[in-house]
């Protein structure tokens, strides 16, 4: 088994679309899984590549009244109006204004619903072997599904269902 390695991937957008679904992959332990790694508060996080529809630069976000604070607002995406969730807020990290490297990762959940995740910056597509995944240690925020060893660092792999679960009553 090769050691996991990071690759700079200029073409990862198309890669992401073509990626296999994890369930089928998981049956074969020898196959690598692809994760899109991004940064929040200097720490590495990741989501499965096949859930990523696209990554867009920061664009004007319209705030929506009567929504919880982790709902950043809506953006327009080629005619679609997409809800954007602030990943820092969601994971209870300290607040920080968006920078030039901030990106919105547009993800799709199992039911095909689309939402944007506002992150500090997108790093790379990681290829990770199944056996590199570790269970979440206690104390991690609920939306972290697993930790994954990449070289000498642990990447927090997010559970998108929980990540996107907005409580509308707030």
């Amino acid at each position: 088994m090769r050691g996991p390695h990071a690759e700079r991937a200029p073409g990862w957008e198309s890669l992401a679309r073509a990626a296999l679904r994890p369930r089928r992959v998981a049956e074969d332990p020898g196959v690598l899984r692809r994760l899109l790694a991004f940064e929040l508060e200097g720490a590495p996080y990741a989501v499965p590549v096949e859930r990523v529809r696209e990554i867009v630069r920061l664009r004007p976000i319209t705030p929506i009244p009567r929504t919880p604070p982790d709902v950043r607002g809506v953006i327009s995406l080629r005619g679609e109006i997409v809800l954007v969730i602030d990943a820092r807020q969601r994971l209870q990290l300290p607040q920080a204004p968006p920078t030039r490297s901030s990106r919105i990762i547009v993800v799709q959940n199992d039911e095909g619903r689309v939402a944007g995740l506002l992150v500090d910056g997108v790093n790379a597509v990681l290829r990770v072997a199944e056996d590199a995944f570790r269970l979440t240690p206690p104390g991690e925020p609920g939306a972290v599904a697993a930790l994954c060893r990449c070289g000498d660092r642990f990447v927090s792999v997010l559970d998108l269902e929980r990540m996107l679960d907005v409580d509308p009553d707030v």
């Binding site: 009244p65 929504t67 327009s76 679609e80 109006i81 809800l83 969730i85 907005v166 509308p168």
Partner: protein
Amino acid sequence: MARRRSRSGRTSKTEQEFVSEAEEIIERMRGGLADLEDQRAANDEVDPEVVNRLFRSAHSLKALAGLFGLDPIRHLAHQLEEILDALRLGRVSLESPAISLIAEAVRVFATLLEAVGDAEAIEVAAAPVAGLSEQIEAAVRAARSGPEVVEALDVDPEVLRTLTEYEEHRLQESLRHGRHIVLVDATFEIDSFEAGLTALSAAVRSQGELISTLPAPDDGSDSRIRFSLLSASSLAADALAGRIDVPGASVRSAMRRAAPRAPAAATPVEGADGLPSLQSISETVRVDIRKLDELMNLVGELVIQRGALGDLITTLQSHHATAWIANDFTRVHKELNRKLKDLQTAVIDVRMVPLHQIFEKVSRVVRGLRRELGKDVRLEVRGADTELDKLLVEELVDPLMHVVRNALDHAIEAPAERVARGKPPQGRIGIDAFQRGNHVVIAVSDDGTGIDTQGLRARAEARGLVAADETLSERDVLELIFAPGISTRLGVTDTSGRGVGMDVVRTNLTALGGVVDVKSTPGSGTTISMTLPITLAIVQSLIVCVDEQRFAIPLGSVLETLLVEPREIQRSRDRELLDLRGEALPLRRLSAEFGLGTPPPEAKLFAVVVGIGDLHMGLLVDRLEGQQDTVIKPIQGPIAAIRGIAGATEIGDREPVLVLDVAALVEDPQRRREAPCP
């Protein structure tokens, strides 16, 4: 709609096309069948046109099913043709089991269609076909044998022998109904006889029924041709002669003796033109509504690009060096604007369908129900050609049906009771549709009991929706029929409420951007008006600004805008009011609603007066930014509906603008009153 969508998972595109076309045919059959039942109930003569229409439907269905290899449908359609043929030839009568067999066949068709795409389900659905076919065959066989020769006519027996069985039957039927049989003779030039014959046939049809066109014995001329039109009319030959204004035509009676009975006051029967044409030549194309949605989206995006272009022009104009380009640009922009408007109108126009489709459905339900409920009701439909977006029409069916059912079930009294109240025994339900500006109004009125407001209030109190000591205007009380949990009964005679209430009707219509209103006079009737936007595709909106955030308010619900000085705002308890021409207009600050920053207290504000039905309210905003065409889109994301926000729209290339859900905003304080919660 929903059913078709769920089916698409397991059927091919061609199957879907078959199903949708077949569904239309069956829908037509149901209509014809209902007409037949009416005729039977009224002891009327069988209208040949109704039977012919049914026959054509069966024939089309047979051909269609053959094309798609759906044998059970093809076989049953063939049997249906047989019995309809017997019916139009008068071999079986309406009193025979024929009608119930036809109804049964139509029902079986529907279940077969449901099963298309699933071989096993088809087999199950086809089970009754064999038995039903046998019954139909038996009914046709048992029917009395062909009609006797028409003896009452003074027509050459040779000629009579050339008549088809159907034509002979029509002659008999006409005689039975006391109509005059006449022969209209005319001679035409051979090279132009077609035009002349067409004109003559039309003239004959306008006065009665054209049964057969017979070539008459020629008069020895090679260049002329003579025809005899065997016709039936409520007019005698000499009276008819005066009505048929075709040069060279003569009318003579074909009766052997004087008319057997006094002419019945029958209306002229449309020409029954014999055998069906398999497919009428149609210039319409069936289009999936989703394709139209796509088209509409594209138009919407063009509209947005146009907005962006306008912004660019403004930028160009602001620089001295580029101002001259801006002028040229403006001209092009204007032209683009005009063409885009045309395109928009054209696309919206394609989505428009007349309301008569759903009105027909409603009439059918009314016919069924009045028999079931033993009520004598006349349904008057006006404005059926009013057009509405196809999508809205689909969504309108249930609310409309509900309202009409209510009227029939609860509002219209039994005949005896009506007479006792000094009303005509026959009740009346009216459906009026008309266009008002960018909206279509559908009003359902009845002359029944009216709403018992006292009873309504008592029920609302019992449910804790209203406090016993609360003073409510008559209007407020009527509004209670839309409160959840209130029985839908609109009259006082009913003892059981229906599960679904008027609150569902209101919810459904509000979701479509529509409103529903009620007016009622105790003892003399109720009118429920449903107002819907003509289309949801593109709406004009007023753009307002609160705390530097823009919001769009659909213009359909904006009544006027006012500039408001802070000192003009009055406070009454915890509410703010404005004196609007002597009426108290409740105000709401959008900044407070949405938790946005407020302008300095001395700043002037704008009140956007919005109205949903008869509820008016002023929304206070910082600034008005003008009107815009907006395409309202749903917000994609893991979030349920946000109260007060209908969606978002793009204007120019800037951030999306939220569109206010005016109905929800106006209803909010009402809801608070109805269900006080912390």
